[in-house]
Symmetry: C2
Subunit: 305 residues, 2 copies
């Protein structure tokens, strides 16, 4: 039976992946550091600290999953770019992959990042655009990818490396662009933005999750952008939110300075992922309506990361 | 007095530049191969064949312009990409630049092309994106640029090299995308298109012309993209035309195959040109309305190139 071990299953993307895996007939094991995080019945939950190499090896020896979906990493908003524990996540990821391969794992799908690319190129294609991360986060992900290829060379374990662009949707960290703009508009506070001229690539978290679930079943090794392929100007995004929220103010474009090297365009080419049979299904408009509806529902808490 | 010699003054861009130069107080000389082409009173017209090195040298020695705006090249729709005379235009351009420098010319602005870039990168930035032309046209323009830099090194003659993206507007060659779609919609014929998913960078010819006129007055040497900086999907462009023309049919997207290496995105970064004080002023919507209005006016002829 197909059996996938999911790390980061309680994260922003992981929570959206679990129902898709269940629907596709996977036996799902999920690993979490703290037992109280195991808030989903869609998986068998296991408690382990991925930073503990022995514990990881033990878990993999016990479960012997055929597939691995590795999403866990430090993604704390605003801090993860330069957080020293990026290097710990690199080590932990490599230990995990090694234990997975040693226990007969057939295929691993690992979450990389668009921050691996040289952003001065802007339009990111897996086989064309050079990699030159600006952040420790990007460097650590890139190094993890390179080292993992070496680690798995000569084994029967496949590796698909997925470079995720800008996911958004229900459960996104409160400090990020869309939730913070929604909150300010909802509270009647000023909406302070950068100049907003930049183009970025936003993909609804359900499409991101579908891409990950899909990649588990694809035979293709290699690197895949997970993106929409659609350049959206931040100004347009903010004005769309204003329209959907019936907010009649004027966003203060330019209130927040951008770095001199802020890329004017950052978009992922998705030709390669499309060729495997996946395609995005949620338009930006529908995705924002969905995000807004979810955000307005009463709930226990909004996650901070 | 500022005195500019304009080549290609009867071309698509040249015709739009002449009134701007007049308005900016330039004394304008224009060169044309055939006297009957001299249909504008905005310049003093001179007849010369730029392929004739001696004639070019004589003309420059006679006029001694302070500035040169070199737009002339083979731009015959569909043929210019691989036409052998691209090499003749390279030689002619270099002879022209040499004669200009030898006669005390201060600043030349020359029309290059986005086809100099490696299109697999898609988002084209002057100092970042590698050049790797796919066409003889792009190769010849790129070589002209490199050779011109060598030729002018050690002289007092400045060179600004302008890489033009996708100009459109009144006077565009009939076979190109916008005029051909307008014509088919107007005639009630089927509108056959490629899949239309590609993003391209369209700039109204008046903005292109303004950029050239502006670059004559800028002190900055170097390479400048002349573009809008705005990715527009071809599908969107065609559907906008349909709306503006009140055409109620369904474009046949996918009827025309695209090459396997057709770039999904081709956009020019215009940070550098903006920094000199130029900016685009015509929105795509306004530009298409303007183009359509002009196209519907009765006229003597539509140009085929």
């Amino acid at each position: 039976m197909k059996h996938v071990l999911v790390t980061g299953a309680n994260g922003f993307i992981g929570r959206a992946v679990l129902p898709l895996l269940a629907a596709r007939g996977w036996r799902v094991s999920a690993v979490s550091r703290q037992p109280q995080d195991t808030d989903s019945a869609l998986a068998s939950w296991h408690t382990a600290d991925l930073f503990d190499t022995d514990a990881t090896a033990q878990l993999l020896g016990h479960l012997r999953p055929t597939h691995l979906l590795h999403l866990a990493w430090n993604t704390e908003h605003g801090r993860f770019w330069q957080a020293p524990d990026n290097l710990d996540w690199m080590s932990a990821s490599l230990s995990l992959l090694r234990a997975f391969a040693e226990n007969g794992g057939k295929r691993a799908v690992v979450s990389g990042t668009c921050a691996e690319y040289d952003w001065s190129h802007g339009f990111c294609r897996e086989d064309v655009t050079p990699c030159a991360p600006r952040s420790l986060y990007g460097e650590a992900k890139l190094a993890t990818h390179h080292l993992a290829r070496h680690l798995l060379a000569g084994t029967d374990t496949q590796l698909a490396w997925a470079r995720v662009f800008f996911p958004y949707g229900p459960g996104e960290a409160a400090g990020r662009l869309i939730p913070s703009v929604m909150r300010a508009m909802d509270a009647g506070e000023p909406v302070r933005c950068s100049h907003g001229q930049q183009y970025r690539d936003f993909l609804h978290v359900d499409d991101v999750a579908a891409a990950f679930a899909h990649l588990l079943d694809v035979a293709d090794d290699g690197v895949f952008n997970i993106a929409s392929g659609i350049p959206v100007q931040l100004r347009h995004l903010v004005l769309t939110l204003a329209r959907l929220m019936h907010w009649t103010g004027t966003p203060d474009f330019g209130a927040i300075a951008v770095p001199a090297d802020d890329p004017p365009l950052l978009v992922g080419d998705i030709t390669r992922l499309r060729a495997t049979g996946w395609q995005p299904t949620v338009t930006l408009e529908d995705g924002l309506i969905h995000t807004l509806a979810d955000w307005r529902q009463p709930r226990q808490h909004h996650r901070s990361s």
